[in-house]
């Protein structure tokens, strides 16, 4: 039995579960709308629109829930990027994923109470939670109230620009999700991290 750290408090796990479920709904319905076609139906269009709208609002509320606890608890310590020497640490981590794992090297930045993420994780989480999510949510809300969008932005339709930004941010977040899912399998065992995000305890390698 390896050592265990309580790294994922209840609020985080609740947020994460809700976020994950509704994000998958958004992803599925979003793709379905973007590629809507009378002959090939992933999700019927009206249902896709309705569930995308509802899930979007849920994610928005969940995001504020996350932000609230982010500000009020100590979890934010894991998100503080130390810019000095960042590049070097990222390269070390990448090198580890590309070569190190296969040589059964020790992880260069093992999970600890003070820092649960490795530099790569930290960077992507910050990017997703504080760049992509705000863009996604802001553009999503705008598309929900299109009358608020300016009609013309330097010759390009305002709604078009908003929709493009929304779809692009959605695409990047989906890419993140795939990577996220894959690297979650690289814990102590294949499923160890998935257990952690459910029960809160991190198994140390």
């Amino acid at each position: 039995m390896s050592e265990k750290l309580f790294l994922y408090p209840t609020w985080l796990r609740v947020w994460h579960a809700i976020n994950a479920v509704f994000f998958l709904v958004l992803l599925l319905t979003g793709i379905s709308m973007q590629y809507s076609n009378p002959n090939w139906v992933l999700v019927p269009f009206d249902i896709a629109v309705a569930s995308h709208n509802i899930s979007g609002v849920v994610i928005l509320i969940a995001y504020f829930f996350y932000l609230f606890f982010f500000i009020t608890t100590g979890n934010k310590r894991h998100y503080k990027i130390e810019f000095k020497g960042l590049m070097g640490r990222v390269i070390t981590q990448v090198r580890y994923y590309v070569f190190g794992v296969f040589k059964k090297e020790e992880a260069p930045f093992p999970t600890s109470w003070n820092m649960k993420f490795n530099p790569l994780q930290q960077l992507t989480y910050v990017l997703v939670m504080f760049v992509l999510y705000p863009i996604l949510i802001a553009t999503g809300v705008a598309l929900l109230f299109p009358e608020l969008i300016i009609d013309n932005f330097f010759g390009i339709g305002g709604t078009l620009l908003t929709a493009l930004l929304h779809a692009s941010a959605g695409f990047l977040t989906s890419m993140f999700l795939i990577i996220h899912l894959y690297f979650a399998t690289m814990g102590a065992t294949f499923f160890a991290n998935f257990k952690s995000i459910i029960n809160g305890y991190h198994e140390v390698h």
Binding site: S36, F45, F102, G157, L160
Partner: protein
């Protein structure tokens, strides 16, 4: 050469005279029909009586001046006997012209195909339910119709002009009451299934859902029974949107194909989920996604093979 100029001038002056007299003539009617109140000399009492004009007999002279028949005198369509007031009681029995009386078989208007329109109209729910009682003027305001799709620049204006033709009646129990004993149903309620309904009604025409595209006329006039109306979102919200043959049929030709967007014509004024995709971005995203999956798969396979061996 000089001779031609003189002739042109003469024409222009004649035309000016005609327009002027037409305006003056109309002014004769509009001094009552263009006002909220009208006045006349009461020969019996010797006084000037002032009365309210029936709002249904009120004519908006500004609208009249933008209509397709702006060159007309009132008496081109109405009996000259209307020049006297009080109008003779018999005048209200006067038979009105139909569009086809003037436009039928006329080379100048061939491109509109009035005959085809009339044929389609005769198959519409309105005509089938009411016969002659429902005629072209019910939608085409004789004192204000202006071409929408054929001449308006912006889709928003096309939609608003066209929809107003239906709403003037379906949203007005007095006009509706001329045709039916029932009250018109609330369109907000009957179209509640349509999300962002208010937005749809400014971006798409009633006829885009309530008719089927007809190749021989620009705007189909065969209003279908409500059961046959378009309800399937994807008919519009997809790459082969029906709107490209109806509402956007005019713009499609001038559309900027090189912009890289599917159905780019829509983008001048809006963005339609499902119908506007950027081809380049689509390819780029599929490729990036593919590369990512391949990369991760290789990593996964290596993890299993190399690590298992060790």
């Amino acid at each position: 050469m000089k001779q031609r100029y003189k002739f042109t001038w003469l024409l222009i002056m004649l035309l000016g005279l005609f327009v002027h007299s037409q305006a003056q003539q109309n002014q004769q009617c509009l001094k009552c029909h263009g006002q909220v109140f009208y006045q006349y000399d009461n020969e019996w009492t010797g006084q000037v009586d002032k009365r309210p004009m029936n709002p249904f007999y009120h004519i908006d002279s500004v609208k009249m001046h933008t209509s397709v028949h702006k060159e007309f005198s009132c008496t081109d369509c109405h009996s000259p006997d209307y020049e006297t007031f009080p109008h003779s009681g018999e005048l209200r029995m006067e038979e009105k012209y139909a569009c086809i009386d003037c436009h039928g078989g006329d080379e100048n208007f061939a491109k509109y195909n009035f005959e085809g329109i009339e044929e389609a109209f005769m198959e519409s729910v309105h005509f089938k339910a009411n016969d002659e009682k429902f005629n072209c003027w019910m939608c085409h305001d004789p004192h204000g119709y202006q071409l929408a799709l054929r001449s308006q620049e912006s889709i928003k204006d096309v939609v608003s002009l066209s929809n107003q033709m239906c709403l003037d009646c379906h949203d007005n129990k007095f006009k509706y009451g001329l045709i039916s004993d029932e009250m018109p149903k609330d369109l907000m309620e009957t179209h509640a299934w349509l999300p962002n309904q208010a937005n749809h009604f400014t971006k798409v025409r009633c006829v885009d859902c309530h008719t089927q595209v007809q190749s021989d006329i620009l705007v189909s006039h065969k209003i279908l029974a409500k059961e046959e109306a378009l309800r399937n979102c994807v008919q519009c919200h997809s790459t082969n949107s029906v709107l490209m043959e109806s509402l956007y049929s005019h713009k499609v030709r001038e559309s900027r194909e090189e912009s890289g967007f599917i159905n780019a014509a829509i983008l001048n004024e809006g963005y339609m989920i499902g119908a506007n995709r950027n081809v380049v971005l689509n390819y780029v995203s599929v490729i990036l996604f593919g590369l990512l999956i391949i990369g991760l798969l290789i990593h996964l396979i290596l993890r299993f093979t190399i690590l298992k061996k060790k």
